[in-house]
């Protein structure tokens, strides 16, 4: 609430416009005696407006990378700057605030809360940031209209199709106007038509200069992005720009 004002004064952009910086980032898991190195010395810079696709086979460290970018997990070693702030030193409450304020999550299984209607679901991140009641309601309706669900704001998630649910999730991710939108297989649970809808929305967000990070298996989705990273055994195998 008071920790992070909406104008985000604490987060200065570095001069070259980079939003996210990894410096020799490592993540190890202790599995009994064995130490499992899931991420090894990742160096990565993401700039404002980037549309990045992270690819890689299972076990390559995609999910771990997503968790760290989303501030759900701490790196074992190395530095992680989000908007110029060193995230690796923050405590649990501060990480929660960063997640709510600067990261917008879009999950494969939508993860809407069943007992709340569309508006209330979109309002959740604003509620935890202390946005006032009137403001958050106005903003939620605006976002519902943006993703084309302006006429179903009082419906429950169970009354919507998968594609519509994912659109609500995208609206929710945009609620606090975050620095990055983090999508984990956003079309994984959808039929191709709905999936295409979602990709169109993501493309449109990218055009509006939002920073998107999509983690996926799907080459077609990766095609939509501007930039691709391929992970293998916890390292960046290769990265390139699409256009």
């Amino acid at each position: 609430m008071a920790d992070l004002p909406a104008s985000s004064k604490t987060l200065d952009f570095t001069s070259d416009g980079s939003i996210l910086v990894f410096e020799k980032l490592c993540k190890n898991y202790q599995l009994g005696e064995v130490e499992l190195k899931v991420l090894r010395d990742i160096d990565l810079v993401i700039k404002k407006g980037d549309y990045l696709a992270v690819m890689g086979p299972s076990g390559s460290g995609k999910s771990t990378l997503l968790n760290i970018i989303g501030c759900l997990d701490h790196p074992t070693a190395g530095k992680y700057y989000l908007g110029g702030q060193d995230v690796s030193v923050l405590d649990d409450d501060q990480l929660s605030s960063i997640r709510g304020r600067h990261v917008g999550f879009v999950f494969q299984s939508f993860n809407l809360i069943a007992q709340l209607n569309i508006i209330e679901n979109i309002e959740i991140p604003m509620f935890y940031q202390g946005v006032s009641e009137q403001q958050s309601e106005v903003r939620a309706i605006e976002l519902a209209e943006l993703v084309g669900l302006g006429d179903r704001i009082k419906h429950r998630p169970s009354e919507l199709s998968g594609g519509q649910q994912q659109r609500v999730a995208i609206a929710r991710a945009l609620a606090n106007d975050p620095l990055i939108i983090l999508a984990d297989e956003p079309t994984g649970n959808l039929d191709s038509a709905s999936g295409a809808d979602i990709l169109t929305i993501l493309d449109r967000l990218s055009e509006q200069d939002k920073t998107l990070i999509v983690i996926t298996h799907d080459e077609q989705i990766a095609e939509h992005s501007q930039r691709q990273i391929r992970l293998l055994d916890g390292q960046i195998q290769k990265q390139w720009y699409n256009r």
Partner: protein, 434 residues
């Protein structure tokens, strides 16, 4: 802003509880019955103790009452055809008390006789109380009209009487009783005054305090008539003759039925009791007296009440504890059932304390709703107890506040751990939870 957060969280809590209506209701039942039992038990306990204490207090806390009782060995006549039993308190006893106890305020010797009273053609059973002018100092009975007995009445053995309201109602429905003549046995007595009813005519022993209702039902006396002690002695004598079929006549001689001793203040009651005890033991070989100390009865009643309250309180507390454990159990189940929701909320920016607040408020809603319903139920039970069980009950404001406070405390105590568990779940794990 804070208000909005609270309102929102409470609304969400109600929504979640409503989603599992049956479960929530069953969970709240524990608290409902716990709170209801606290209130009902306290009300019954309070009612019982208040009645007992009122009855004892009416005897007067500065009084010591010595009553004549029939000595146990005399109860079966010793084979004689005609036996004269002489026992009980005497005028000498009263005299001795007056002379040998320094801090005594008044001594009231009392003689009681059961008789019939006539006025015109109406007849009622009454208790004739032969007493002294300062009798009123020892009881809460008030003079309503006219005057009470005077020293001159005593000296000249006047045929006058003071009647209580009970008799006024029974005998003098339409007449002004003052200056009328009431016939008791074979003599007429002029009514000079009216006093308030002595609702506890024979109160004195613990048993009579408890069995007061039973005595009223036996209901021999419509009321009491006060007559100078000297007059009573002259008119009614000191002998009672009982005719029984086989053993013939049984004659008892009793001078006084009761001596009431009043001391200057409450602190003197116990030392005076000891002196009285010694005097009585020395001059009465038979156990034909009973010493009643209302103050001690009162203290004893309070002690009993304290124990009673503790016992009732513990039983009620245990039922609340069981209710609380039930709540905790359900909340733990709820938390694990909603693991994914917790993960989502954490990812969307909820801090640990937000999660704690959310689950704690759910528990509190449950316990407060249960507490309110429990209070309603708890207030109804004493009503039925009074109505059907003929037992007095008193619901005090303290017991309501107490039980409401307890239900809140139970909510916090048993809601905190599940809420804490919820808040400390790993967000990554919870998001993966199916």
């Amino acid at each position: 802003m804070f208000f909005y957060r609270v309102r929102r969280t409470v609304k969400l809590g109600i929504k979640s509880l409503w989603l599992h209506r049956l479960r929530s209701t069953l969970t709240a039942l524990g608290i409902i019955f716990g709170v209801a039992s606290v209130i009902a038990m306290l009300a019954i306990g309070e009612g019982a103790s208040r009645t007992a204490q009122e009855q004892i207090a009416r005897l007067g806390s500065q009084n010591l009452i010595i009553k004549t009782v029939q000595p146990p060995e005399d109860q079966h006549a010793t084979g004689q055809q005609q036996s004269l039993q002489e026992y009980g308190l005497t005028y000498k006893d009263a005299e001795r008390f007056r002379n040998s106890i320094p801090n005594i305020q008044v001594v009231v010797p009392v003689r009681r006789v059961s008789q019939q009273a006539w006025y015109r053609n109406r007849k009622i059973p009454v208790e004739v109380i032969g007493t002294v002018p300062w009798h009123l100092e020892t009881t809460p009975i008030r003079l309503i009209m006219g005057r009470f007995l005077a020293s001159a009445d005593m000296d000249y053995k006047q045929d006058i009487c003071v009647i209580d309201e009970g008799i006024v109602n029974e005998l003098f429905a339409f007449d002004d009783p003052l200056e009328q003549h009431v016939k008791i046995a074979s003599d007429y007595y002029t009514v000079v005054g009216i006093v308030s009813s002595q609702s506890l005519a024979a109160a004195g022993t613990q048993e009579s305090v408890e069995n007061n209702d039973a005595k009223k039902q036996a209901g021999a006396n419509a009321g009491s008539i006060y007559i100078p002690l000297t007059t009573v002695k002259d008119r009614f004598g000191e002998m009672t003759v009982q005719l029984s079929g086989q053993s013939g006549a049984n004659v008892e001689k009793v001078e006084l039925q009761e001596i009431i001793v009043k001391v200057a203040n409450v602190d003197l009651v116990v030392p005076t009791r000891n002196i009285l005890q010694t005097l009585l033991e020395r001059f009465h070989k038979k156990a034909d007296y009973q010493l009643i100390v209302p103050l001690e009865l009162l203290r004893q009643a309070r002690r009993t009440q304290a124990i009673f309250s503790i016992v009732l309180g513990s039983i009620a507390a245990i039922s609340l504890l069981v209710g609380g454990i039930g709540i905790m159990n359900i909340m733990l189940a709820t938390v694990s059932e909603r693991t994914r929701e917790i993960g989502i909320r954490r990812a969307l920016g909820a801090r640990k304390r937000d999660i704690i607040f959310q689950f704690l408020s759910e528990t509190l809603i449950l316990t407060f709703a249960g507490g309110l319903l429990g209070i309603c139920l708890g207030c109804t039970i004493p009503y039925f107890v009074t109505h059907f069980g003929k037992m007095p009950t008193v619901i005090t404001g303290t017991s309501l506040l107490l039980s409401f406070g307890i239900s809140g405390a139970v909510g916090i105590a048993f809601g905190l751990y599940p809420a804490y568990r919820a808040a400390n779940m790993d967000p990554i794990e919870s998001l993966r939870h199916e």
